[in-house]
């Protein structure tokens, strides 16, 4: 076999098509709202039309006489249902302010969409209709929309806190070094960037269905969630139902992107009302509710300063963030800016570093994790600032990056903020990307257009990124005050019929874990991936798990599967050696069978070993029956995927219209289990990141109304707005785990936003434009051009 030959079909590294697909392609896949549950009641939530209002009274009596209505409740009516407020699992500082947050607001509504009353009826339409019969007497309070205004405490979102600041978090290992660097710098850059709020917009909105079981006092909570295991714990804590009596099932889940990494009011309401009414209770989120009452992403004002020497080599990076928490702290809201806080120096060696984040409450939908969660924001700031530095130093954006890359020979690299980057080769990814895009030719064409005075400007934007994913070493999470671990669990069992069951604690919602985990196991056991069944998303069959987010599933959960498979194989070897009357050291395993080295006729297929383990008629002394192993793996470090993306845009000077004409992505996620799936993750990530740059924004008016609350107003891109992408990879294995894998779920989103914005600014730079807020709408582009012209005149 030559080194370049493709891996055999189905083995690790091959492009196996997904085992998940037939069900999803024929309509057989079952999402929450597809589950037939006879007799279920339907929940509808009345939401505040005001961004900030005191609730003087709620009258639900008229709703009770509406057709089909079974019950109606105000927030106050349900207070006795809650053993504790809704959870925030990440108190980042000991003095962090966290206002009590209940599934329904009791005395004050704090954002448009905050639940104030609930109706349950026999049908969804009846529940929805009855909301109109509820009377709420509101006393409107002033909205707090702008972040800087929020920080001034002019109006308090939560009066009882006495401030709008939730916390201030600093990472400043050597303040004097930073001061010295700026004092001695030949070049400095000081930029202010705005990370607009984004609406994650998974195609499936959220949905919940809670079924009280007829025996055993258990509740089954079906939810469109990324985190069945965490939800089980939190649902128990908030309702007071013992955790052991809550089973959470995540059936098919139609995308998440972080928005389903949460514990939501409606999940708790359905559970509490199912307990109270002793009937199944279900809820399906409408798209406008999804915009208003599911978390939003980003929402930061970033100030980044660079100090560099005369060659443009970085001496220091100093960052100050103002981060929008929204009205309440959801599950991990406060931690999101911190996930980027270690990475504002990007892929560049930076001797001095300072980061601080002030997080404030506003009267808007809570923010939380959205694809990339903190790392896209950090990457955006450093990559845009590096382009600004290149302009100051007078060198090409590719050159400024080369001069500053962390040297390949210095991995594992201890960064100034305190991380250890596992492995990297940044110049290789940059070189490949520039070659694929035809960088020199594009620069020549750009120069030609500029000298010809053409008004369709060509812009080329580079973004070299690194991110930390694979959440995470539990001890590191402890140092960040995160209230949980970062391990993952897996069980592998070979059944008597030799079929293999894998139970994973990860919870896929489009990533293809069934395919990838099957490949990992099949490859090791020498069987077909079709003979492996992967069980996920059900806390009854997988009692332990930390779920899916932060590009963690392969490097943590996949590793647990890998190690559990090894452990099963070890046991099988013991049994085979016993029965073949050979020493374990003399056995080899290949093609799905053990054989004695040098005597291939003395062999035993794994299937036979599985049956022997089941009958237990002849096992070695001290060996327990059955072939099964469980592993809970806690990684020693994060993984650090990296790469370079290059965007090419054309901008029309007269109209401000931007077209993305070419996009090249070179990503390095270490070894790849299935390149087909890796590419899919990159493609989707690119589209979401491009969308932040060019189209998407959760727009609020000054009264705190969300103006982009439907898919007609919030511009999720269609196929017609995007090009095909050129994707490629380099492979630098991670030393963090035995498979050498990193993660790729968020890389595309992290890299693409700054690539596109750098391209837009590059296109407009001859016109004097050096900055532009996102999304770069035609209006914004046109205004920036006009402003630049006025500035020059």
């Amino acid at each position: 076999m030559s080194a370049t030959q493709a891996p055999a079909a189905g083995t690790v590294g091959s492009r196996l098509t997904r085992l998940e697909d037939p069900a999803l392609l024929t309509g057989e896949g079952r999402y929450v709202d597809d589950l037939a549950v006879p007799g279920a009641l339907h929940l509808a939530v009345l939401r505040s039309p005001y961004a900030h209002a005191r609730i003087r009274s709620v009258d639900t009596s008229a709703a009770l006489s509406q057709p089909g209505v079974v019950a109606a409740f105000s927030g106050a009516d349900l207070q006795q249902e809650w053993a504790s407020p809704m959870p925030c699992a990440w108190p980042v500082t000991p003095d962090m302010k966290n206002p009590p947050h209940y599934p329904l607001a009791v005395d004050t509504a704090c954002y448009v969409g905050d639940g104030v009353a609930a109706v349950v009826a026999e049908t969804a339409e009846q529940a929805q209709d009855a909301l109109a019969s509820i009377t709420v007497d509101y006393e409107e309070l002033p909205a707090v929309v702008d972040l800087e205004d929020a920080a001034s405490d002019r109006v308090l979102v939560h009066e009882s806190l006495g401030t709008n600041t939730s916390y201030v978090w600093e990472l400043n290992p050597d303040p004097e070094a930073v001061e010295r660097a700026f004092a001695g710098a030949a070049h400095t850059v000081s930029e202010r960037y705005v990370q607009q709020r984004l609406i994650p917009s998974a195609m499936e909105t959220r949905g919940v269905c809670v079924v009280p079981q007829p025996y055993g006092g258990e509740y089954t909570l079906y939810s469109a969630t990324q985190i069945p295991h965490i939800l089980k714990i939190m649902a128990g804590l908030t309702t007071g139902i013992p955790e052991s009596k809550v089973r959470v099932v995540a059936p098919e889940v139609g995308g998440g992107f972080g928005s389903k990494l949460n514990v939501y009011a409606e999940e708790l309401l359905c559970l509490a009302l199912a307990r109270r009414l002793r009937r199944p209770v279900r809820w399906r989120e409408e798209r406008t509710e999804n915009a208003q009452a599911t978390i939003q992403g980003r929402g930061q004002v970033q100030r980044i300063e660079l100090a560099a020497d005369s060659e443009g080599k970085l001496m220091a990076v100093r960052v100050k963030l103002l981060a929008d928490m929204g009205a309440y702290l959801q599950l991990v809201t406060p931690g999101i800016p911190l996930l980027g806080g270690f990475l504002y120096h990007g892929v560049y060696h930076t001797p001095a570093y300072s980061f601080s984040c002030q997080s404030v409450f506003t009267t808007k939908t809570p923010t939380d994790a959205y694809r990339g969660a903190g790392r896209p924001e950090a990457t955006y700031a450093i990559e845009r600032a590096m382009d600004a530095l290149a302009r100051k130093v007078g060198v090409d954006p590719a050159e400024i990056r080369r001069r500053n890359f962390i040297p390949t020979e210095s991995f594992p690299y201890g960064s100034t903020p305190g991380l250890v980057f596992d492995s990297g080769n940044y110049p290789a990814a940059l070189d490949k990307a520039l070659q694929l895009v035809g960088y020199e030719e594009l620069r020549a064409e750009q120069a030609r257009r500029r000298s010809a005075g053409e008004t369709k400007h060509l812009g080329i934007g580079i973004s070299s990124y690194v991110e930390m994913c694979g959440l995470a070493p539990s001890r590191v999470l402890a140092s960040l005050n995160y209230s949980a671990g970062g391990w993952e669990a897996a069980t592998v069992r070979i059944l008597p019929t030799s079929k293999v069951q894998v139970v994973t604690g990860t919870s896929p919602h489009g990533q293809g874990h069934v395919t990838s985990w099957s490949m990992i196991v099949a490859d090791k056991l020498g069987i077909s991936p079709e003979d492996v069944e992967v069980i996920h998303g059900d806390t009854a069959s997988s009692p332990h798990g930390m779920d899916t987010y932060g590009s963690r599933s392969l490097s943590v959960g996949g590793t647990a599967v890998y190690l559990a498979t090894e452990r099963v194989l070890d046991k099988a070897k013991r049994i085979a050696a016993h029965q073949l009357e050979a020493a374990e050291e003399d056995l080899e395993f290949s093609g799905g069978a053990f054989s004695v080295r040098g005597s291939p006729e003395r062999s035993m297929p794994l299937a036979t070993v599985a049956f022997e383990a089941f009958t237990a008629h002849n096992l070695p002394e001290g060996t327990e029956p059955t072939l099964e192993a469980s592993v809970t793996w806690d990684p020693p470090n994060f993984t650090f995927p990296f790469g370079t993306h290059v965007a090419v845009v054309e901008v029309e000077e007269e109209t401000g219209r931007i077209e993305l004409v070419k996009y090249v992505a070179v990503d390095d996620c270490g070894n790849q289990v299935n390149p087909l799936l890796v590419e899919g993750q990159v493609h989707g990530g690119i589209a979401q990141g491009v969308a932040q740059a060019l189209w998407e924004e959760a727009v609020y008016d000054k009264d705190g109304n969300l103006l982009s609350a439907t898919l007609a107003d919030y511009l999720v891109p269609a196929a017609s707005e995007l090009p095909s992408y050129v994707t490629d990879s380099t492979v630098t294995p991670s030393p963090t785990n035995p498979m050498g894998v990193k993660g790729v779920g968020e890389a595309g989103t992290i890299a693409s936003t700054p690539a596109v914005m750098n391209a837009v600014v590059d296109a407009l730079s001859p016109l004097g434009v050096t900055d532009l807020d996102m999304p770069a709408s035609p209006m914004r582009v046109w205004e920036a051009i006009s402003r630049a012209r006025q500035g020059r005149n």
Binding site: P22, A36, M203, G255, L676, A687, T710, L711, A718
Partner: protein, 175 residues
């Protein structure tokens, strides 16, 4: 109304949307709902051979019509339609939620234009949103399906999808 080759007759509320008739009365839950504004296309089905967004058609408007849903596209033996096959081959789906609507929209597109250009595919599908794939592999799959002659491939003879699985008890109870 004929759905996937089988005839149904029901008295329905005037406000019942076609998509909820399919999902709740017939138990054909493959057709999904993704928005309230006819923007996302997750609910796309064929009505008399042309794609429509079934969230914007009243069930009563479809009285007497011939409807094909995702459940009716594969052959009676479960053999995937060439468009479904191409979606699988080219990894044109991830979470799968937009997929039934997307596949039905592609079916309609290729019947109208059996050999579209990449641009024609992209503009032809602009009424169907996908949040996972960035469209790259969807476009690839459509072009591959077109090259394989999927535009003239028969639609699954109408027997495979007509029997709601697990949803048989769902009429009125599913929601």
């Amino acid at each position: 109304m004929t759905v996937n080759g089988k005839t149904y007759e029901h008295e329905v509320e005037p406000r019942l949307l076609l998509v909820y008739y399919l999902r709740e009365v017939l138990g054909l839950t493959g057709t999904n709902v993704g928005c309230d504004t006819t923007s996302c296309g997750a609910c796309t089905v064929l009505l008399n051979g042309e794609s429509v967004k079934s969230c914007t058609v009243l069930a009563v408007q479809a009285d007497g019509a011939d409807i094909t849903t995702i459940e009716g596209l594969a052959g009676p033996d479960g053999k995937l339609h060439p468009i479904q096959e191409a979606f699988r081959e080219h990894h044109a789906l991830q979470c799968g939620y937009c997929t039934p609507g997307m596949v039905m929209a592609v079916t309609s597109l290729l019947r109208e234009n059996p050999h579209p250009s990449e641009d024609q595919v992209r503009f032809g599908l602009e009424g169907n949103l996908c949040r996972c794939t960035g469209y790259h592999n969807i476009v690839k799959a459509v072009l591959a399906a077109a090259a394989a002659g999927a535009g003239s491939a028969p639609i699954g003879a109408g027997t495979a999808g007509a029997v709601p699985t697990g949803g048989a008890v769902a009429g009125g109870g599913a929601r």
